[in-house]
Symmetry: C3
Subunit: 277 residues, 3 copies
């Protein structure tokens, strides 16, 4: 609540509210956006099922020969570096170029960058090309701007580290930085959203974070406000995680209950954890 | 019930009955056919589990170096174009040649052809090489003969479109066209089978259609009548889908219940939805 | 109970007891070892979830460009040949070299060797490079030393065949041979462990054996005694399988219950099936 230039800039966007996020989730169900995922082999199946559960339509096309053709007509594109290969890198570069040409929003998930040079270099290149959102754990977001890397897919950054890094990523690249994991913090460099839900089990099922990146892409297909899209998707996953945790015997049944919750939660309930900017 | 030439031709095959289809499902359980799947990374796990649940033995070998060796000794082969790469295309061509040399039945699933040229070209080439069955949604079956493509893996064709396209595919390529999805329609160009079961949840779990292609391959290993094989596999999945839907909280538990049902359904119950030619 | 040199050698190792195995499982939970998996596309997701359920941290990095970098800092490495490609083979050779340089333990799972020359050759080469453990079904273990191959991923060897082949593999390569499947038999060529648990459903869910290889790698990160690591991991999976079987409707719910059990079993209960050397 200041009169700084930052406030003026943020006022060019409507506030991020649970109601607005719920509308995004309803719009995804109503329009079934086609989300092209160039993602890793570990989570492709789970990601597709999460997208279907949220009402979107997944298409996992990542070859250099085909990725650009689809990206030009998709509703949104996800670029996830989890099991990067040289062929997939070529596909990603083609897809991003085609998405940009066609005005299709795309999301970058720089999995496990920092320690691994090939994907770190690619993430840096892609960040310069204006992804609508960059989603990662705190270490990955920090690594995008040269911060310390994590240990593979784990995050070792503190919340304060994360907030600073997220703001820097958002400002430098003109994007939304969506930090998820132990901490959920979303910012476009001016406005910041937190999510008042979520639990540690979400970090113990492979693909939850990666699927969140895909959901953010799906939500980006129905709103130009990338922070709102990120908030809606993150709240959905975190609230679903809380619902699932209450019905869970162990990690197997948690993953099943998570998909159940994503597919059945009322949009207002799913978006209720958004604590707006 | 006409005296047309078509009828005479169809009489060279026994009628497609629930009883005959049930025997196919029993024969799969008894002989555990080895089904080599050259398939996409999204559904490989689910497909393997569906095959195991039905009593078959999956083997996902698709490299150009190894695919042909296995295809020559497999019980059946599935070619699914869902995440086609140039290396996989080479593996597919080798596998089909080896399967043909050895008399091993193979099934083509032309996922998302139409919009994507590389896979559309390959599907056209492979269709000319006499797959025992071509399985797809209505748009994919239409696209094999130059019809409109779908939106990725979705089908946008009507039932009437589908019936015409299926008949054309079956006649032109001397194969069975197995349309599944919102509509289940199987034809060898003379006889037509429909399935009196199935529900929309089956289209909301990734890999159900792709796994059906693998099951058709498994069934093709135990009968020379490809329409009967297609009918048995499709009825199994659709009936299992109905059983699962009755026990389902959401899409996560539906997928689990579907595998449960495939693995536990009595063959007669599983085949009961066949409405014969 | 002889006074042969073999006995003297085995006495340089503590006995394999349920108590020692339970401590290994507790140490995995306490230290969350980073297990790099170069594995097949069919089981990558399930393997990651099994590792998470046991308290380890999975990282599926297998490209030639990145595999060696991670292997040098991982806690353990799994090499699984299930869907071998030429690129992955290059990644595996780099990873093994880096793991050896850094003293990182690695485990070889020679899936479906015997019938398929490319992977059989690679398995032979890698076996010479001193994997801490070679895990496979009886046919795969036999094929490592030139025995008969199986039918894809199935085992056709008898228990007596398996015991002889396992002892030969262990002695020739100075490793632990871990035979799992219908038979669970673990040996370092001097000591032999059996597992008094497990059931046939474990062979009907894809990826259980492959995930066991990853768990053996995780356990190898916390003990130098590779036979103890193998015993702890195998007992965990087999006991979890028995727990899961008691709660199972069919193969879908069995896989879910298996993950539930792996994530919730007390270490002493999980290790209780170890019948020590």
């Amino acid at each position: 609540m200041t009169s700084s230039p930052a406030r003026t800039a943020s006022e060019s966007r409507p506030p991020i509210t649970p109601q607005a996020a719920a509308q995004v989730l309803r719009d995804v169900r109503a329009s079934a956006p086609l989300v092209q995922c160039l993602t890793n082999i570990v989570v492709a199946n789970f990601t597709a099922n999460v997208l279907l559960a949220a009402g979107a339509a997944p298409a996992m096309v990542d070859s250099p020969e085909e990725a650009g053709i689809l990206a030009g007509v998709a509703s949104a594109v996800l670029i996830n570096l989890g099991t990067l290969t040289t062929a997939q890198e070529a596909g990603m570069r083609v897809a991003v170029a085609a998405a940009d040409d066609a005005g299709v929003p795309w999301v970058l998930d720089p999995v496990a960058i920092g320690a691994l040079p090939m994907r770190t270099k690619l993430a840096g290149d892609l960040a310069e090309q204006r992804p609508r959102v960059i989603r990662g754990n705190a270490s990955e977001i920090a690594a995008i701007v040269g911060g310390m890397g994590g240990r593979g897919v784990d995050s070792t950054a503190t919340p304060d580290d994360a907030a600073g890094a997220a703001a820097e990523v958002a400002r430098r690249f003109g994007t939304v930085a969506a930090v998820s994991g132990a901490l959920d913090l979303l910012t476009d460099g001016r406005r910041t959203v937190r999510i008042a839900a979520g639990n540690a089990l979400l970090t113990k099922v492979t693909g939850v974070g990666c699927s969140l990146g895909a959901l953010i892409a799906a939500c980006s297909a129905v709103t130009d406000d990338a922070l709102l899209a990120s908030a809606a998707a993150t709240s959905l996953v975190c609230v679903a995680g809380d619902v699932a945790a209450a019905r869970t015997v162990g990690l197997g049944s948690f993953a099943v209950a998570l998909l159940d919750a994503i597919s059945t939660l009322d949009a207002d309930a799913a978006a209720a954890a958004v604590v707006g900017a």
